[in-house]
């Protein structure tokens, strides 16, 4: 099934081999299934070709008036029994071969997901959720189609057309040539048209998604639309998009409107040629009327394979393109070292040493972190600074979400690049800026990192994160479903839930990357008290812009443009850092009656 006629559309041969390597395993595993399937398919083709021969016998017998009613019944019975065998065999090949394509699809899908789970944050900057979803739905679908229906159609079309042509030549060579004259055009047309159809259809899809996006952004801002009375304005803009969409659909329709009528026309032109030349041959007595009828039946059999050639070519091409995309994805290497975790002993009080740590994001020329020297041991460490100063980057590096260079980051005095990533991660709890929760019960969300947590443990963590009271007010308490189809929680509640999730793991390190920003002041106090109780002797890194919170830490690090500007306790920083002092003034001093902060 290799296509060699249009090399520009195809990856080089070596690449092709590599690509097929992705699906080869499935082909090898299910070789018996495929073998049986194709035997059944060939048998069907062969039996189908016999039927016109039987009809020929019948018609000739009728024309020469040398057949009896009994003879006709026998022929009919023969057709019926062959048809029955065909039906059974058809079921067999469908189940075996199409089923194979589904098995293959599943194998590739699982492989894709396994790979995604291994990838690091850099990978997800390159591939958006939408991209990956498209890979798993559209591309997989294209591969499955190519390996299922594509494979069947290719084999079927090849066998059927060769055999049917063979039988036709057997009846009359010249007539066959005549009848087949229009056929190559059909194959060429289908191929050209379905390629163009595909491109036009892609435009339709693009417009469909921009229409969707427009509707979404409008409806999400409905309050604004109404407040500004721009309903009509928006409707007109939407109408413009809609009209563009209609136009593109019409462009698709023009092609679609050609494909099937052309197929029908080409088939019928063949029929016309048979009627005209074949008719003459019968009149001249060169072929019998039975031959003539059988000839027509064979011609009917040819229309489908000819259409299939064009269709299959596109199907295979699309399948290969998709396979190529999937291949690129599953062969991308994670930037973090892939080391096996050989039962390394966990560390009770791990520390981090940052030694001249410098970090660049991909395609950035400015370092996000520059020459950071820092020791992080037990205690509460605050981190603050302006937007973009590198606070979150620091947290992400500590959590091993991005790669670091050798000799710059040490976990308990061992270079992190020599340690398995999951080993380090097993030591830490993490609360991100955006609380990410999953569609599941609240209890399951809290117990995410510790699936065997008891109800008591879950509740204790929830209490320390000051979310317990909110939870028990919900209809099903800890069993309440959240997420897409569940209860909606406020930003502050989501953040506290994410905190409880980190607390329940009870790990020696805790990183909170601005994870309390939506929690109100009163609750924040409560949370902080809970943290202090629960986290005594542990290493806590907490990013925040709130002076109240920072003043309660053991030390605060101020970052400016990726460098450590200041590092000290609250009162020291008030004296040294103008940034810290201005934050303090903005947040505390302006209030005339506020008490002097300790």
């Amino acid at each position: 099934m290799k296509e060699t006629n249009s090399p520009s559309h195809h990856p080089a041969n070596a690449r092709l081999k590599e690509l097929l390597g992705l699906v080869r395993h499935s082909f090898v595993t299910h070789r018996l299934r495929l073998l049986l399937g194709f035997i059944a398919l060939l048998a069907v083709d062969f039996l189908q070709l016999i039927i016109p021969r039987i009809i020929k016998h019948g018609v000739d017998g009728l024309a020469n008036a040398n057949i009896t009613q009994i003879g006709l019944m026998k022929l009919g019975g023969l057709i019926l029994s062959i048809a029955l065998v065909i039906a059974v065999l058809r079921f067999v090949w469908r189940y075996l071969i199409i089923g194979f394509s589904r098995l293959l699809e599943q194998a590739v899908r699982n492989r894709l997901f396994r790979h995604i789970l291994k990838m690091d944050a850099q990978f997800f900057e390159k591939y958006t959720t939408g991209d990956l979803m498209a890979h798993s739905s559209n591309d997989l679908n294209a591969v499955q189609m190519a390996c299922g229906m594509g494979l069947v159609a290719a084999v079927d079309a090849f066998v059927m057309s060769t055999a049917a042509i063979g039988f036709m030549v057997h009846i009359h060579g010249q007539l066959t040539l005549m009848a087949l004259l229009p056929m190559p055009f059909l194959a060429i047309f289908t191929r050209i048209l379905s390629g163009r159809l595909h491109r036009r259809f892609a435009t339709v899809q693009e417009q469909f998604s921009s229409m969707t996006e427009f509707a979404r952004s409008t409806l999400i801002s409905i309050r604004l639309i109404k407040a500004y009375t721009t309903e009509k304005f928006q409707t007109e803009r939407f109408g413009k998009l809609g009209r563009g969409y209609v136009q593109s659909n019409l462009r698709v329709a023009v092609i679609q409107g050609l494909i099937f009528p052309i197929a029908t026309m080409v088939g019928n032109l063949g029929m016309l040629l048979v009627l005209w030349f074949g008719g003459k041959l019968v009149i001249a007595g060169t072929i019998s009327i039975g031959d003539f009828v059988a000839f027509i039946t064979y011609l009917y059999m040819l229309v489908w394979p000819m259409m299939a050639i064009g269709w299959v070519t596109n199907l295979v091409q699309r399948g290969l393109t998709s396979l190529n995309r999937i291949h690129t994805l599953v062969t991308s290497k994670p930037a973090l070292p892939e080391l096996e975790n050989h039962n390394l002993a966990p560390i009770a009080h791990p520390t981090y040493s940052l030694r001249e740590l410098t970090f660049f994001y991909q395609n950035e020329t400015q370092p996000a972190l520059n020459d950071i020297r820092l020791e992080l041991g037990p205690g509460i460490h605050g981190v603050t600074g302006r937007t973009g100063c590198g606070k979150s980057t620091l947290c992400r590096l500590l959590a091993r979400l991005y790669p670091v260079m050798d000799g710059q980051l040490f976990f308990d005095n061992t270079d992190v690049n020599t340690l398995p990533v999951d080993y380090i991660r097993a030591h830490l709890g993490y609360v991100g800026q955006e609380p990410i929760l999953f569609s599941d019960t609240i209890a399951a969300n809290i117990a995410l990192g510790k699936p065997d947590a008891t109800q008591a443990e879950i509740e204790a963590a929830a209490r320390h994160a000051a979310i317990h009271n909110d939870i028990i007010e919900l209809s099903d308490g800890y069993g309440t479903l959240i997420g897409e189809r569940g209860v909606k929680l406020s930003g502050g509640q989501r953040q506290r839930l994410a905190l409880a999730r980190a607390l329940v793991c009870d790990r020696p390190l805790l990183i909170i990357d601005d994870g309390l920003s939506a929690v109100d002041v009163a609750t924040e106090h409560e949370v902080f008290n809970g943290l202090q109780q629960r986290l005594a002797g542990k290493t806590v890194i907490i990013v925040s812009n709130r002076i109240k919170l920072l003043s309660m830490t053991d030390r605060t690090i101020i970052l400016e443009e990726g460098r450590i500007a200041y590092d000290g306790r609250h009162d020291e920083l008030l004296k040294q850092s103008s940034l810290y002092r201005s934050m303090y003034d903005k947040q505390m001093r302006q209030t005339p009656i506020a008490e002097p902060v300790p």
Partner: protein
């Protein structure tokens, strides 16, 4: 489509629901000319298609096998028949091409008008509907549901009509040729139809099972990808993998069972086709022996039966499309029938007065009437004054603004502008009088200028004037192409501060009498804040202003401070008075107003 198997549970609609068909028909009538044309084309295509086997039969019987005629006459006759055949072939080609295009034209424009109606209707609905429906669901109505309906239009109304026409045509042709053989062939009609319907039902269930599993896989996948760092940090990889593979296995099993069903049905139809062939040969052959049928007619019978079985296979697959399309259609019409709870004034007053006095008179309101969030609020804003609303989250500040803009109507009490109840204005009048700066900002994918102007029709120089007067030109000058900078998706990304400024510029461009400002809770960059503060000072003069304030600097600028808690006004006065009273306000200030702000409730 970009629909990753979106599916909604809920009730199932029957295909025979006439109310839905009637409404679809109403849209069709608007395009009746094209529609009639399409129907005529259908008839013509069917006629030309069915003429072909008949011509073949004529050719065989009258010329090819008729040995009584002399050879030249037979050849001439054959040529004429072949010519006719050729004409029919070309006619079918042209007509069916035309038919496809015309139908697409009609169908797409019908869907376009439904979509436009629905969009305009949605924008008129009150906010309760938006609160109780996730945005994604409403968007689906406009996109995927309409698309589904279109599928129904093209594959049901069109193809089914064509196929039915063809089946009837075939039967007529068969009966005209030979009644007895046609009668025998007729037994295939109920068998095939019954089988098709049975299969369609079974296939629908299989399709549904597959689709719902696909939805599960896709939502699992999108959630896993979105939360991948959390999964990795909490060591969930293996569990996620197992869960995913279980879902994937479920999908495989469902597709395999669908393959079994198709693997059974498809061969059966093919078998029926062969059985028909066997019948024709046996019974039809007998008829020839009895000299009641010609060979040409026998050949024509075989051709007709081939045409007969062709549409059946497709028909069965279309059934499931119809099902989901009916459900979509019902959801669309249901939404179109939903009316807004906010009623427009029937005879709006003309806005003659320009003072801009705003009064809340004993207003009570709850999103859920049983749970009031605004309790007996009375407040008078004298023209030109600036009032700051202060209070913790959930105290009812935002709700007051929602009521003022008539996003909701109060259950008790009323709101008056210049002594006229706001229900007496048309919504457009009201919302043009009251300009709001909300926390969220709508950004059109367009230039900054068109984003500010929107539909006000203001000229570029007018906008430049306004911006210069308020000092906001500093914000525009910072952007690479000034007012012509493309923003939104694919354009320049604005910072939170810049978005606030844009939002403010929009309001200034509308020059409202009453200004409502929901101050940003999130910290914005210093530069934007400076620009905003000077622009605010300018905007407050000569306007009645109501500010939901989070920053102390803004509060201090107000003439009057209103403190809310639990839906009531509990304190009011100026800053010094309230601090001196040492009540709730003093406490709030002490608790650090700036940071006390949390996300506003819906």
């Amino acid at each position: 489509m970009m629909n990753f198997g979106y599916d909604e549970g809920g009730h199932r609609v029957s295909i025979g629901d006439m109310r839905i068909w009637r409404r679809i028909a109403r849209y069709t009538f608007n395009r009746w000319v094209s529609f009639t044309f399409a129907v005529l084309l259908s008839l013509a295509v069917t006629g030309a298609t069915l003429a072909q086997p008949w011509l073949m039969q004529q050719g065989i019987d009258r010329y090819i096998t008729d040995i009584n005629l002399d050879a030249t006459a037979r050849l001439i006759g054959l040529s004429t028949t072949a010519l006719w055949y050729c004409i029919m072939v070309i006619a079918v080609f042209l007509l069916s091409f035309l038919q496809v295009v015309v139908l697409e034209y009609v169908g797409q424009w019908i869907m376009h008008s439904i979509r436009q109606d629905l969009f305009a209707h949605m924008l008129r609905l009150d906010l309760n509907i938006f609160n109780s429906n996730p945005t994604g669901r409403l968007v689906t109505r406009l996109t995927n549901d309409i698309q589904n309906m279109y599928e129904m239009f093209s594959s049901v109304m069109v193809t089914m009509f064509n196929d039915l026409l063809r089946l009837i045509g075939i039967l007529i042709a068969l009966y005209l040729m030979n009644v007895r053989l046609a009668l025998v062939m007729t037994i295939f009609v109920p068998i095939s139809l019954g089988l098709t319907i049975l299969f369609a039902r079974l296939a629908r269930d299989k399709f549904r099972a597959i689709r719902s599993q696909l939805v599960k896989i896709n939502s699992f996948l999108s959630e896993a990808i979105a939360g991948i760092s959390i999964l990795q940090l909490f060591g969930r990889e293996k569990r996620s993998r197992d869960e995913f593979e279980e879902l994937s296995e479920g999908y495989l099993q469902r597709t395999l069972s669908q393959i079994k069903l198709f693997g059974t049905f498809m061969p059966i139809t093919e078998f029926l086709g062969s059985a028909a062939m066997a019948m024709i040969l046996w019974y039809g052959g007998g008829e020839i022996l009895r000299e009641r049928l010609t060979i040409g007619e026998l050949v024509a019978f075989i051709s007709y039966m081939k045409l007969f079985f062709q549409p059946l296979r497709e028909l069965s697959q279309k059934y499931s499309i119809v099902q989901s399309a009916m459900a979509s259609a019902e959801r669309i019409f249901q939404l179109l029938d939903t009316t807004s709870a906010i009623h427009e004034a029937e005879q709006p007053v003309s806005t003659a007065s320009h003072r801009g006095e705003l009064v809340f008179d004993k207003v009570c309101f709850g999103y859920d009437p049983k749970k009031p969030v605004i309790k007996d609020v009375s407040l008078r804003l004298r023209p030109g004054r600036t009032v700051a609303l202060v209070g913790t989250t959930g105290s009812g500040k935002t709700t007051l603004v929602n009521l003022l803009l008539r996003f909701y109507d109060p259950q008790e009490g009323k709101i008056l502008i210049d002594d006229t109840p706001i229900t007496k204005f048309s919504l457009n009048q009201l919302r043009n009088m009251v300009g709001v700066v909300l926390q969220d900002v709508l950004i059109l994918q367009d230039t900054l200028l068109s984003n500010i102007v929107m539909d006000t029709g203001k000229s570029r120089s007018e906008i430049e004037q306004i911006l210069t007067n308020t000092g906001m030109h500093r914000f525009v000058d910072k952007l690479p192409q000034g007012l012509d900078t493309m923003i939104g998706e694919g354009g320049k990304e604005l910072s939170t501060g810049e978005k606030q400024l844009l939002s403010f510029a929009r309001v200034l461009c509308r020059d409202p009498k009453i200004l409502v400002l929901d101050e940003a809770t999130a910290a914005i960059d210093t530069e934007s804040e400076n620009i905003l503060e000077s622009a605010l000072a300018d905007a407050f003069t000569g306007r009645t202003s109501l500010i939901i304030a989070h920053r102390l600097s803004t509060i201090r600028r107000a003439d009057h401070i209103v403190v809310m808690a639990g839906g009531r006004i509990i304190e009011q006065g100026n800053h010094e008075e309230l601090i001196a009273a040492d009540g709730h306000y003093a406490q709030l200030v002490a608790m650090d107003l700036h940071n006390g702000a949390t996300t506003a409730p819906a």
